[in-house]
């Protein structure tokens, strides 16, 4: 059958059942097998959780109690150890949504849709943390809770993009339609990521430019930079652990639904007693 529209609704991904025939093609589909995914993620998750919590606690404790106050901001600079990792994960989370969208739209990877569904709320929470802590930092330092400069506004737009994705992916009775719509939204929304990153360089903003760049030396003293790196790595691991736990739950919930549906079909077709 020749399908003219590449994203046409007639082209549904065929579900891969674990018992199905071995599929040739890119190795990406290796993780599409739910059983293998659950086994692998089940082995990784406890480690990810423990290490993530430990590194975050280490970084935050160092930042809150043992790092020096900034020469002009004083102790308020300690808000950075929460704000900057949250900001990084807000962007990184949306980037991973965009990656899932490509995997879903081009390769029809079944796990990518579930991943997008589970990453959305977590990314939105970290964006909210970024906005809230930024506000709490802005009031005492800048003198304003909020300003409509390009950096703050583009992060607020990112938050609304997350909310849109969360609503859209759950909006349809047929989940496949929701997955597709949300994937397209995630891809279109990803143009906001370079805008967030470069807003402080392209336009006059109240928000200061990046302190850590790929090209130059960081403009942060090592005593402040180290705890920041630890809390950023720790929060990243925590983010990954939360997403992985949610994804495991989603995979198992889907399997439960499939089994119950199959059972109901079986019973309805009058094939005899319900198979126990």
């Amino acid at each position: 059958m020749e399908n003219v529209s590449a994203f046409g609704p007639s082209e549904r991904p065929t579900r891969q059942t674990p018992a199905g025939p071995k599929r040739r093609g890119p190795n990406l589909h290796r993780f599409a097998n739910p059983g293998r995914f659950l086994r692998l993620s089940g082995a990784i998750l406890p480690w990810l959780t423990v290490i993530g919590i430990a590194v975050t606690a280490f970084g935050l404790t160092w930042g809150l109690f043992f790092s020096p106050p900034d020469w002009q901001q004083g102790d308020t600079v300690r808000i950075m150890y929460v704000h900057v990792p949250a900001a990084w994960l807000a962007s990184a989370g949306y980037f991973s949504l965009a990656v899932c969208a490509v995997l879903s739209l081009v390769w029809r990877h079944p796990l990518a849709d579930l991943a997008a569904q589970e990453i959305g709320p977590v990314g939105a929470v970290f964006t909210a943390i970024c906005l809230a802590t930024g506000s709490l930092w802005g009031k005492p330092m800048w003198g304003a809770w909020w300003v409509w400069d390009a950096r703050l506004t583009s992060v607020l737009v990112l938050f609304f993009l997350y909310l849109g994705q969360i609503a859209l992916i759950r909006a349809f009775d047929d989940p496949q339609r929701g997955y597709r719509a949300a994937a397209i939204l995630a891809l279109i929304g990803s143009v906001n990521l370079p805008i967030i990153k470069f807003s402080v360089d392209w336009w006059n903003t109240l928000h200061q430019p990046a302190s850590i760049t790929l090209t130059g030396a960081p403009t942060i003293a090592p005593a402040i930079l180290w705890p920041l790196l630890y809390s950023a790595i720790g929060y990243t691991l925590v983010f990954a652990a939360i997403v992985l736990a949610r994804l495991r739950a989603a995979v198992m919930e889907r399997r439960v639904r499939t089994l119950l549906l199959a059972r109901a079909d079986h019973a309805a077709s009058g094939a005899g007693a319900v198979a126990a």
Partner: protein, 59 residues
């Protein structure tokens, strides 16, 4: 500390929200696992294999 309320509020937000989401995810995963174990022979086999490997003291 200067501006202590702002710092305390920031850390509270940065700790409470991820913890809450983490705990919710963990509860959801364990509930899904219980339901799956009740009906899926394949999951039961996987669980049995895991327990066997761990020496039978799984959660």
């Amino acid at each position: 500390m200067t501006h202590l309320p702002y710092i305390a509020a920031s850390y509270a937000i940065g700790i409470v929200l991820p913890s809450g989401f983490g705990i919710a995810a963990w509860l959801r995963a364990s509930a899904a696992r219980r339901r799956l174990l009740a009906i899926d022979p394949r999951a039961q086999a996987r669980e049995a294999a895991r327990r066997g490997r761990d020496g039978g003291d799984g959660p």
